[in-house]
């Protein structure tokens, strides 16, 4: 595939690794924020290819994994309301909440449809004008503009039965909180590629400026990631942290202005509840008053009677903060496997536990 295969060339990969091995002298702890990077790093065995002084940690970049149990409980309560159709990305279906998953709710009679895009959810709404269709809006800045676009489309068409429950989360604020917490010490960050396609590389400028940590935005092919690591190594060795773009075919400093415009038109910034981290101000998106008619939170009486219950023994929260690895979890690979998952980090294809399970822990 064009613009994919060229970035998987093993000869160039070897040269990049040689360069990293040659240049990297200082101990370097790098964190990849994004779950997509976690999967690629494990799949291509990148941890094992790097010299032992480079340690790689996985961050909180799986939108499904960071969704708080309370919020999932509300989504499931909503999906159980009579007459409602819930449309969701497949990633969310099996995530366990306090009492059930969406999949279990479906087995018990809720109308839950897995869609690939909000375009499909809009189609379901058009074809079923008598049924409210609620799309579960989960995702980072990459996905939020597509959901904003769907609300604008529904408004333009006069669709009266399309709703969104907005659980979107913003990535720079949570990164700041992780760095401020002092729980982890990092030398470099592999910044998320497709989030940065939207928000621009300049959204990360505060990291080198305020924390003196090296940053580079990476694509998702093996050469992209190795190139990103080589840029981080140069910055670390020269003690000159900045934000570089290792993915220039997709990322510009200013991002995608049109996508940002639509996102800001439909959503406003609000606090959001992150699994294992808590409620962080300014880290979520809610639907603006002008679009209240499309807001599932306002249109339906969502009630959860019982308090949320976290899966017993699950360390997902600590793993998402980068302070534990799946190998620290007693349930990993025994009571918790992809077939019988206990926590979201094992269910989601981009969860760190699933990556460790499928590809092995690697060093670091």
């Amino acid at each position: 595939m064009k613009f994919v295969d060229e970035f998987r060339n093993s000869q160039s990969g070897k040269k990049l690794i040689d360069r990293i091995v040659q240049r990297s002298k200082k101990p370097a702890r790098l964190m990849e924020f994004c779950g997509g990077h976690t999967v690629a790093i494990f799949k291509y065995g990148i941890r094992q290819l790097l010299p032992p002084n480079i340690e790689m940690l996985s961050g909180p970049g799986c939108p499904v994994c960071v969704t708080a149990t309370e919020d999932l409980d509300r989504v499931i309560a909503l999906s159980r309301l009579p007459g409602i159709t819930t449309a969701t990305f497949g990633d969310l279906l099996k995530i366990p909440s306090s009492r059930s998953s969406l999949q279990e709710a479906r087995a018990e009679g809720s109308d839950i449809r897995v869609v690939y895009s909000t375009l499909d959810a809009l189609d379901i709404a058009r074809k079923n004008p008598d049924r409210p269709v609620v799309f579960v809006g989960i995702g980072f800045e990459t996905t939020a503009p597509t959901i904003a676009a769907s609300i604008l489309q529904a408004e333009a068409e006069g669709l009266k039965n399309y709703y969104v429950i907005s659980l979107h989360k913003l990535t720079p604020p949570v990164t700041k909180v992780l760095l401020d917490s002092g729980e982890i010490r990092l030398d470099g960050i592999v910044c998320p590629g497709h989030v940065s396609t939207i928000i621009g590389s300049q959204a990360w400028d505060f990291i080198p400026q305020n924390y003196s940590i090296a940053c580079a935005v990476s694509g998702f092919e093996p050469l992209d990631i190795l190139y990103c690591v080589s840029l981080l190594v140069e910055q670390i060795e020269s003690s000159q942290p900045k934000v570089e773009i290792a993915y220039p075919r997709a990322v510009r400093p200013e991002g995608n202005r049109q996508a940002l415009k639509l996102m800001e038109q439909v959503f406003e910034v609000c606090p959001a509840n992150w699994r294992g981290i808590g409620t962080l101000p300014g880290s979520g998106l809610r639907i603006r008053n002008e679009f209240a008619a499309f807001d599932a939170e306002r249109a339906f009486d969502i009630r959860v009677e019982e308090p949320p219950k976290e899966p017993a023994g699950c360390l997902c929260g600590a793993i998402l903060r980068g302070v534990a690895t799946p190998l620290d979890c007693k349930l990993f690979g025994a009571a918790c496997t992809p077939e019988q998952p206990v926590g979201p980090c094992m269910v989601s294809s981009e969860g760190t536990c699933a990556a460790y399970y499928h590809f092995g822990g690697g060093h670091g």
Binding site: F3, V4, P192, A250
Partner: protein, 71 residues
């Protein structure tokens, strides 16, 4: 979940484009990339083009990889 893959725009009608991804045709929205034209590669994320692939930058990166270690 932030997966996005390059796809080639074959035709455009309003905000809708027909794209080709590894030989298969898909419908995609170009609402977020109003500058997209037929013949562009776009990054496709959940049915929406989220950016136009900068082909010049892509070639530049590939060339840099090829030249690496030769000097």
């Amino acid at each position: 979940m932030c997966l996005a893959v390059p796809a080639l725009i074959k035709s455009i009608e309003g905000n809708q484009a027909e794209v080709d991804m590894a030989g298969t045709s898909y419908k995609a929205s170009i609402t977020l990339t109003p500058g997209a034209r037929v013949g562009d590669y776009v990054l496709l994320h959940t049915g929406y083009a989220i950016q136009i692939v900068d082909q010049k930058e892509a070639q530049e990166t590939i060339r840099m990889f090829q030249e690496m270690g030769m000097v």
